[in-house]
Subunit: 126 residues, 2 copies
DNA sequence: TGTCAACCTAGACGAATGCCGAAGCAAGGG
DNA sequence: CCCTTGCTTCGGCATTCGTCTAGGTTGACA
């Protein structure tokens, strides 16, 4: 294997995921839970949650790593690792353009997760 | 001291949490990320995600542990531990009624999380 | 009162996670 | 051509997580 063939891999949770009936409306099957849990787990860290927000709310829908890294008190490799986690959870896409690497949010997946958490019928009941 | 005075404690993420402007609309501050990440982390496990769904979609809005436990190939204490995690993340409430303990979903919190993930404006962008 | 059932807590252990520094690849100048 | 800059991967610790068995604590019932 010539070492570094593929530029940047993604994973899972594309469009083959069953998903989507609101969590509170119908008991979700084990398969769906197993497929979606990694996405929530990826969001279950303050740094990644901020990264996700910075990427998703960026001007052109994409953010450069060179803009993301200095926003934290963490080393470059650590940020890279968190971005990799987000990528492997299917929450973002990465693309290298010239010198820099840009990350882009997969809004469809975010919507999927939002729909799952949405209360379906009875919104709130204080 | 008779040891077990308080019945069952909850934690965090009640109504003091800032929250809510969609993640993709505006970069969320570190405090908010820190406050919300534990909730996502709690959902980042297949078992807890299923538990959450079973509780949230239960008939009367509440589910008995005695109904939850046999749905998994896990020991009772393990399920109890997962329920505790959900409780400490502020996602569910627990109440002991006679012999059984009932768990109830905090739909308001779920809605909060859903709103955060909702794409605000541009739903999907293939 | 004694006994049983339901559920939680405590302690332990392997596996995964978060962090870093050092090293490796890619692109763009001198 | 080499050298610098940007980002990722690699190898290592310290910490956290998921699971179990064992041992309470509470409530119901004979």
């Amino acid at each position: 294997m010539p070492k570094q063939g593929t530029p940047l891999p993604h994973t899972v949770l594309g469009s083959d995921t069953p998903c989507c009936p609101p969590l509170a409306q119908q008991r979700i099957p084990a398969e769906v839970a197993t497929a979606l849990a990694p996405a929530f787990k990826a969001l279950g860290d303050p740094v990644r949650l901020q990264l996700m927000s910075m990427i998703a709310s960026a001007e052109n829908g994409e953010a450069c790593v060179c803009d993301l890294t200095p926003a934290f008190d963490l080393s470059g490799p650590t940020i890279s690792h968190h971005l990799r986690t987000l990528r492997e959870a299917g929450l973002v896409d990465a693309e290298r353009r010239g010198t820099w690497v840009y990350y882009r949010a997969r809004k469809a997946v975010l919507s999927q997760l939002a729909a799952l958490l949405a209360s379906g019928g009875g919104t709130t009941a204080p």
